[in-house]
Symmetry: C2
Subunit: 211 residues, 2 copies
Amino acid sequence: MQHFSAADFLSWERFYRANVISGLSGFKPAFLIGTQDLLGRPNLALFQNIVHLGANPALIGLVNRPREASPHTLANLEATGWLSLNAVGASFVEQAHQCSAKYEDGISEFDATGLTLLQRPGIPVPFVAESPVQVVLRVEQVLPLPLNGTHFIIGSVQQFFLADGLLGPDGYLCAEKAELVCTAGLDAYYLPARIGRFAYAKPGKEVTPIQ
Amino acid sequence: MQHFSAADFLSWERFYRANVISGLSGFKPAFLIGTQDLLGRPNLALFQNIVHLGANPALIGLVNRPREASPHTLANLEATGWLSLNAVGASFVEQAHQCSAKYEDGISEFDATGLTLLQRPGIPVPFVAESPVQVVLRVEQVLPLPLNGTHFIIGSVQQFFLADGLLGPDGYLCAEKAELVCTAGLDAYYLPARIGRFAYAKPGKEVTPIQ
């Protein structure tokens, strides 16, 4: 194996280091986060660092970059208390990537990329109509992480919308039917193919495929 | 689309709800977290909820379930201040899944699953020899999340080990060469195939493939 110490990667050129270090933590989900400001102007941003915190209460966490690098989503969700998660499908991965560009305040990523703005009565967040998994989160907590200026945002699931036919009989959400993508590093997109599902693991019991 | 409200999913059977809600946040990375207790006894646990926090300083965050549900990793990393991330490859995905079983305190998941324990002089964490991406993290912060009893652990990358040939000329870590897997929901494993990489996005500029 190749070995790298902190002295090595501290000496690397900035973009080289960012590629390597961002790759160390593996594949990530890809979501467009929808928010709006107090004037109702919509914003979309690409997020990859998203975690499942629990099913009951239904909580999802996401990492927002430092405020100066990525201000719009953070300001909007702090102002309104709401955001939407829109899972990225393979059919619009280039448009999703373009949403990571730094547009000026007031420029809508919907207009800039051609993704279709979907608004639903009574819900103060925009949705991406092309997305097969659309989740409404209410902001529960915004935790500043002083170690590097990022923020850990915790939202509670209030409602969600799924393309028809994604849910299996046991509630398994079949991500490949929706052609959801995942990401790696800063700029790579992947389409995952299922290896298998395995039954709940117990000590002394063989690993058992489901179905 | 199908629509589900909080009233719907609060009424669902517990395992059905866990499958659906855990699927909403998409694909996740798969890592075996290696720790040891103060007696040097090794422990492995499967983690999926892992985020890249930043490259400089090099920080990675991970979610630990409530202490009563998953006590060993948390107790060990609090006692020693160290953990290892070992990326799960397709060749040992069943053994990795088995590490999610609740073994009693003092039972080594290495012994129970047949994964190969690798220890390196001067580093107080065990590694999974089969893993192509092995990262040493020093614990920087353990943030309890009172909303549901989980913990957000922040570690700084101190050193790492990569299988030969994974790094591209620009530092891109080629996860598919290592056959790294990702997960979905509670129990599904996937092998991702690359769609493409895209150059850094800028307003008004076309999305450009890399290579």
